[in-house]
Amino acid sequence: MNWGSWQNFLAMGGYGLYVWGSYAVTLAVLVAEILALIARRRGVIERLAKFYAARRRNDETEV
């Protein structure tokens, strides 16, 4: 498939809005999921580190 020019490629034979609207939202959704997963992992590690620190402090005061 030879598109000839960028304009032709972006125009998608007049269906540019539909084709690129599909691809853009798909990309956005997948990128959002990846970012959410990275944030979740950071959050879990952060929260659990605090949880263990609190538990350690608790153990020390009890003993």
Binding site: M12, Y15, Y23, V25, E33, I45, L48
Partner: protein, 250 residues
């Protein structure tokens, strides 16, 4: 012989041994996903020709059909692991089911969204309440319902069981989606993705679609592995090995 068989079956069934395995495999699946999607998009936009009837609008197919396949397939996988967790009471199976739901919901949303953007130029409407579209929308609600139900129950073991029952009941919707185009008169076309034009065209279109489907599949595995690792850490936080793991991370 039997003993060694059992050993291999259950070797990675504990969260503690699965966690590092998932971590080791995840980047490879992510890499495969990127490579396959790049190849699929190249085929879809630069090898596959213009469709005789639909022009360039058909190029939505390279994400629409793979996303729709994944939405159904991931639900079946989720139902399977839910069922295993329910019957065998294995924690990890239920955690995998929990981790699959958001990715499945995203692919369902993508299938619906791209379907609307494809429906407008080809059917003249964004949406129609035909059997295929409606049952796919119900699939989205099943995923959301599964996640909401699990989030609403504090005790994770009870959340697993409740979610599993919902997931298993919802499996009935998958054959309904798949066969809806045969069982009812739908605006949505049948399974043979209108490749009635020259067979050489059909080959590259089909190839692009299959490569994208493989890419989405690998992406789903990578995302699920990443998520199940978070779920494992959260739910196994009272174990020594998670404490050690967090200690090593900080």
């Amino acid at each position: 012989m039997i003993k060694s068989n059992r050993f291999s079956w259950f070797l990675f069934s504990s969260p503690q041994s699965f966690y590092p395995l998932a971590g080791a495999l995840q980047p490879w699946f992510a890499l495969l996903a990127v490579a396959l999607c790049a190849a699929g998009l190249y085929i879809g936009f630069f090898v596959a020709p213009t469709d005789a009837q639909q022009g360039e609008s058909y190029r939505i197919i390279f994400i629409h059909v793979p996303a729709a396949w994944m939405s159904m397939f991931l639900y079946l996988v989720m139902g399977f692991w839910s069922g295993v967790g329910l019957v065998l009471n294995t924690r990890l199976s239920s955690m995998v089911a929990t981790a699959l739901a958001p990715t499945g919901a995203l692919f369902t949303f993508i299938a619906l969204w791209t379907g609307a953007l494809w429906g407008k130029p080809t059917w003249g409407t964004w949406w129609v309440w035909d059997a295929r579209l409606t049952s796919e929308l119900i699939l989205l609600f099943l995923y959301i319902g599964f996640m909401a139900l699990q989030a609403a129950i504090d005790d994770p073991r009870r959340a697993d069981k409740a979610g599993a029952v919902l997931a298993l009941v919802g499996v009935i919707n998958i054959p309904i989606i798949y066969f809806s185009v045969q069982w009812w008169s739908t605006l949505h076309q049948g399974a043979s993705v209108s490749m009635k034009s020259a067979p050489t065209m059909a080959a590259t279109m089909l190839l692009g679609m299959l490569v994208m489907a493989l890419g989405f599949w690998m992406y789903s595995i990578a995302a699920t592995l990443a998520r199940v690792r978070c779920v494992i850490l959260e739910r196994e936080r009272h174990t020594d090995w998670v404490a050690a793991e967090i200690g090593a991370q900080k």
